[in-house]
Symmetry: D2
Subunit: 341 residues, 4 copies
């Protein structure tokens, strides 16, 4: 059995999460997120992020969160601004367009949208025969595992407020971003700068589940009906809340995100020590090393991972560490890499 | 703490289901339902239902299954035929319409659509200024807990095939239907008579999850892309499959459905013995007893349940038993009912 | 060649309308309704209806107007309330559902929705698992040619404002309603009581074209972009405006609507004099007489019309007069009817 | 009053078109395109394009044609391939996305999509987490007035058939393309190479109206219901057919397209003779000359037109000639241009 670095969703759930589920026993609860667990987990989140007035909703997965949030905000002719490698633009099978909305893209830099990208899209969409951009979508970490800094997010937020745009963060990997060695954002900063975001559970120890946080009063209305309409209001909503409680208790979710990040940092050091380059800096739990194809073939004999890009004789591969990655596996990987190099 | 008869989703999950999740440990798996658990659970289902060529897809909840299946089949102007108390028509916040399709309804009898209802809707929609009915939606059990018999389903299926309509069963409570004392349908019958259906997990012991089964070759194409587009392709799809494996092993799902049904039957007997009537026959785990309002007030002091209908001095209430309902609770309920009557 | 009473769209256009188009010659104009004709026709309409602040938009047809207006107003989970014989519910091939919205219906009385119908639908939709009714659709005249009175419209408007519902009138035949002998509404009343409506041109002398009037400030925003998105912003928008100018000049549109109505009244009198009944009172240019099938067969030898309803041996047929119906044809019809009776 | 070169929709309609409308008088016809005019015009078109089995539908405008055709063909997750300056991608306010579909774009060359662009998009969309491209949209003439040659269209068609893609031509300006001095395509070629296209009337002498031609049997089904659902089935459909009859009679539409083209050719010659360059070759009735800003200011004193692009001190402007452009105006324009140069 090969070890897989394919993603951070390749192990089922952190033991504390499963233990929390077991502990419930046959205790009854109300349906559709109106139970005490959901209330309690929402309170814990609001406290952690310093947003006492936020609305918190639990949902099973990331694409579902993206399409439900975005379609709840936009009028039919309003559009999304996103980086052109954005998950919603490339890897969600047209989920946003299926709700009726166009995505306007800019290349960004290092996978990050810049404030100037947003302004330029606004300038080129000032015509009543065009869609009207109304929401900015970014993800933290980005598609290449980089992390927006506080000043970058401030600039984006400033542009959004100037032009009355909603700012939304896809936080499928927000945990590793918040625990990145380059991170200078607090949750309170995010709460202040952003209108709506979600905190991913699935990729950080939960069996399934993301926590959507809405801080902008204007977009809170009737969100539960919208969840229902999109098939996202689970009758056993409590089950996600119970997992979040476990992840929030004693800052478990931060601890395990830190573990994932440190495994990636160690792996990156090993790779560069072995003489290979990385496509972009390793700021979270994702690595994009560039290997000669012959090395990639050797690695594939023992490990699973995705190819990212091919360029004359070399392949950039994508490696992800997780809360479950053992340090010994990283050591083995580096040793093996050096042995085949 | 009051005991709740509100629904069959009020307890988290059967212990065997959670045990199966725990047993996985940190074993890695592939994402998005391409893992060995998903393959194995699909094989188990196909064997149980005698449909070796069926496609099986796991999805987190019922409304999500309904909207994803239905919108995958219809062209824009095609419509659904459903009973007018159908879940998709009343209690899914317009989820089907949000995908662009009208639902044409008939009152049905005892919550069941009849073959003649379908024909009548077809006759009154023979005009190019109208939607074109293309799919028949029924649920088994129905919204009132009744069960379609084999001959009823055969008649519906016959009409559907005659008019080239797709027949879809919402099986959120299919388990209790299959284990109803009135049931004369086998899974093989369903496989033969129906084009697509799902087997509910959430309301029969799973933490979450439904298994969509597509038997009609013509509607299988690209269903995974459609799941992705609707936010329904969970990265940890394996987690649902693991639960279904546990439910299928040693026919656990049948055993616990039988338990739910027998609790309901016992409760119904107690209620009628106490001199009260039921709105419709109790064929599964749902009871609709009619009590004087004063009795309902008394019951509400000790139990939770939904009101179904109010009629001069009486209230029909909805009571549901589940895999977790203890027999002692039924005894207590009946004793209490008699004491307040 | 049989004379057709099928509809009021069976003749091309009033001569004054075509003359106005001819008179333009090769005079150039700006595209997409930003021309002087569109401005001028809008001013004429706003003056006629006493709504100086209204927005007026020209669109080619009625179904297009209905779907564009309704989808511009509703959030995804919001629904329409309509009478169950409403054009949008029955005869527009699911155009509203295709934009994502459910229509909740009530039977109404004589084709008219009543204020109590609206309240009842609101009461039965007070649940977050249901759509949220937000807009009331009625048509004037109704599908059976009847006319809402001032007090009826006032009651509906009152309920709408009480519950923060938008009130929309489909005015494909508003001209004949305003010139009905039973009408006690002024355009100023409509402007005060309604949020948005349209004045039909196609069925009252225009080649094509309806004038949408939005009086509620809150729903005016970006309507031109929405028109564009739905394919309704014609580059030669001027052409519709030119037709409306011709129809508004010297109250042509009222005069020809009066003619249509008086032809219908005369025809109705002839029919009742001949001993036949009408399904509902003739208040505009539509008649629904009930004839024995044998008489219908005879009529069909010389006239074209639609069958409305069949009941043991009798057929209710639908007859429409128009601005172009010659009085001599009515005389002939009555004479013929009496001769075959 | 300044002369406008803004577009080819700035004059109302060719006199022969209006005359044909006038000639109808009060002759009655059936509604919704089921009349004799519609049948006759369809026959004339099928004969002209040598497609006896094609379906022909008349619709009021181009954006409406695009969204109705495209949404009638695609399943929810299927996408469109288009050049990145394509009208549907830029200037239709998200009309295609509003029907649920993503548009995948390539830059193309001279405004033309190339066969290799299509293949590259297919290669990068071979993943079930992505949309599935299914239809290729091009326009003839292109957005910059250029004309696909026979060999270019053959290559595109070949790729489409190889990959089972539908090929659709937006023919808002197909008339001027067919009458371009560079054109080597016959209508019969188009019929053979393309699955569906439309012949624009609005920009070539009609008051309004485009003729959609469907040659691929597989996409003909129920198109009239789809037209109805999108608000595109006009009750007086006859009015568009009457205009097409006038345009087809004695090849009027070709003659007036030739006039528009020759005016553009003459204008282009005058502009280059005066020492200015054009952004791209003038192949139809559109010119994109590059003038110093100071010259543009002078031109704007006497003429109306759109700016296309600004580049340090120069502005590319867009000029369109039409069936109605007088030769004297071209002469005056050139004289004036030389006088201010």
């Amino acid at each position: 059995m090969k070890y897989s670095f394919k993603s951070d969703y390749c192990e089922l759930a952190h033991p504390e999460v499963l233990k929390a589920l077991i502990n419930v026993g046959n205790k009854q609860f109300d349906g559709y997120g109106l139970d005490e667990y959901s209330l309690r987990a929402a309170e814990m989140i609001k406290k952690k992020i310093n947003a006492p007035d936020a609305d918190v909703h639990f949902i099973s997965g990331g694409t579902h969160a993206n399409l439900t949030v975005i379609s709840s905000i936009l009028r039919p002719y309003e559009a999304v601004i996103a980086p052109d490698n954005g998950h919603i633009f490339v890897h969600e099978a047209g989920a946003i367009e299926a709700t009726g909305h166009k995505i306007c893209t800019a290349p960004g830099v290092n996978g990050k949208l810049e404030a100037t990208d947003i302004e330029e899209i606004l300038i080129t969409h000032d015509d009543e025969h065009m869609v009207s951009p109304k929401l900015v979508y970014i993800s933290q970490t980005t598609e290449t595992g980089t992390v927006y800094t506080k000043s970058q997010l401030q600039e984006i937020s400033k542009i959004c407020r100037k032009h009355n745009l909603i700012l939304f963060i896809d936080g499928a990997r927000l945990n590793v971003a918040m625990n990145s060695y380059v991170n200078d954002l607090s949750y309170a900063d995010i709460t202040n700068l952003v209108d709506v975001f979600y905190i991913g559970g699935t990729k950080n120890g939960a069996l399934y589940g993301e926590a959507i946080v809405i801080t902008n009063e204007a977009i809170k209305k009737d969100f539960r009906i919208i969840l229902k309409q999109r098939g996202a209001l689970l009758s056993k909503g409590a089950a996600i809340a119970i997992q979040f409680e476990a992840l929030l208790k004693d800052d478990l979710m931060d601890k395990i995100a830190k573990h994932a990040n440190s495994m990636a940092t160690k792996m990156a050091k090993g790779i560069t020590d072995a003489g290979y380059e990385l496509l972009s800096p390793v700021e979270s739990n994702m690595l994009l090393p560039i290997f000669p194809d012959i090395i990639v073939d050797k690695l594939r004999e023992k490990y699973e991972f995705y190819d990212w890009k091919k360029t004359n004789g070399n392949t950039t591969v994508r490696l992800l560490t997780s809360w479950a990655t053992p340090e010994s596996i990283i050591d083995e990987f580096i040793t093996y890499l050096k042995s085949v190099g």
